[in-house]
Symmetry: C2
DNA sequence: AATTCCTGTTTCACTCATGGGAACAGAACT
DNA sequence: AGTTCTGTTCCCATGAGTGAAACAGGAATT
């Protein structure tokens, strides 16, 4: 997994602070110092520099600055996948009435790129930009199935297989078995592996070399995604959409 | 403007690198090193740590990581203004057919929070998350008009009054005159001060104490935003929308 | 095929900046 | 007035970031 030899520790603490503020909006110097186990003076100085650059704002407690929004949208808009998948995701959501996501992978984690809700979509607590684990959902497994075994092994080694429900895959061998079948089948299922009562289908978006660069998924309540809807109708819709996206990406 | 005494310089260089990559997508170690005038080894080590944390990705050249998207959307969703203004902006765009923006200020700079296009909107190159100068547009001036003169003075001192068109305000006294009139009038105009041929109206969104926390603006081609449309109709629409937003913010 | 000129990588001293401790001030509450 | 938080500032020691140089690998040149 190519560990970094000498990380710049000062930068790491800076981002630890940023990430702490992200999770504890409105935190103050003392609170951050005690929770991160650093001297108040250290935190104070870091906060000052981060504020000056616009990455944090202070208003009786520190919060994330909108500087991140600029960079974040820049990052998103830099991915052709986002642009190509956007309309297709919306279309699938309208057609199926369910929740549809375009996801991608980065650093061995899954990232929600764009989602659309149909008329009867379940309300999940997922949000664009959310970071998750690839082995926990249909889209992520579809991606893993189309990556090299070494790559998958590295990811498992790096993050483990954290559990979310009783049905989350927690065993490495089991995961590889799943991926094998997903590769043969062409798409992945998720039966309550991430959220109880939630089923999903996911299909990979691959590049010219057959490596997955992302995936689309349709998810909904288990009772509605039953029988041929789950095993025939939705997979077919996904494969059609995915195919179009792949063509547009290799373009044109 | 409360300068930071001792900035953490290592963190500053880290963000210099991040910002460089944002503007030069796909840049490499050598390029960054020469342009930022640092040793290659330094850049190399910084890039490594930033990649490991997910803030950059490497794929034959470095790019912004989607980690920023997560933080950026977090920052955006943390602002009540964004949520309250969202629907109103969409509504105004549909009703007027023009481009409507909700903007806010941070660190003395303007930030595009949410925009909506009407049926005949001009295509501007503005994007959500974009950072700009407050004195250059209607929304920004509306905000400045409802901030303390000292605060405005600090901002002018910090960033100057950069020009964009022949009509951009470049003189401090002139700016304060404008703000005076905007304060009396209740809304601001922008006649080709940011983009040639583009007119706009902006109205401030203030808190309980009368301090501006953001603004709405409607912009369109000068020929269409003429006469009473600019001076009567749109200001009235804006003031109505702004008023509702203010009520919801102080809530409720 | 050999050479050149790019990359990116690694190593290693040196120095400077980071980090922590402690002293300080100001607010909020008792 | 006293207590206990908060955030701020100073300063010193040390540990970490920086840069120079040497290195390796690839691409494009000859």
């Amino acid at each position: 997994m190519h560990e970094v030899a000498n990380p710049v520790t000062t930068v790491e603490t800076a981002f630890e602070i940023v990430e702490y503020v992200a999770e504890h909006d409105g935190a103050g110097v003392s609170e951050i110092a005690t929770d991160l186990d650093r001297a108040k003076s250290t935190i104070h100085r870091h906060l000052g520099t981060l504020v000056q650059r616009g990455y944090l704002v202070e208003d009786g407690g520190y919060s994330l600055g909108l500087r991140f929004l600029d960079l974040g949208l820049d990052a998103r808009d830099g991915r052709p996948l986002y642009h190509e998948a956007h309309a297709k995701v919306d279309e699938l959501a309208e057609r199926t009435g369910e929740k549809v996501w375009c996801m991608t992978a980065e650093n061995g984690r899954s990232i929600h790129l764009h989602g659309a809700s149909g008329t009867q979509s379940v309300r999940t607590n997922s949000r664009e930009g959310d970071v998750g684990y690839l082995h926990q959902h249909a889209a992520g497994k579809a991606i893993l199935a189309h990556r090299s075994p070494e790559h998958v092994g590295d990811i498992v080694e790096r993050y483990g297989l954290p559990t979310r429900t009783d049905d989350t895959i927690t065993d490495g061998d089991e995961l590889f078995d799943h991926l094998e079948r997903i590769r043969e089948r062409g798409y992945a299922f998720n039966r309550e592996e991430s959220v109880p009562g939630l089923y999903a289908v996911g299909a990979p978006i691959t590049d010219d070399r057959g490596v997955a660069i992302g995936a689309l998924s349709i998810s909904g309540p288990a009772n509605r995604l039953a029988g041929e809807t789950l095993t025939e109708e939705f997979p077919e819709l996904l494969l059609g959409a995915v195919n179009e996206i792949e063509i547009n990406l290799s373009h044109g």
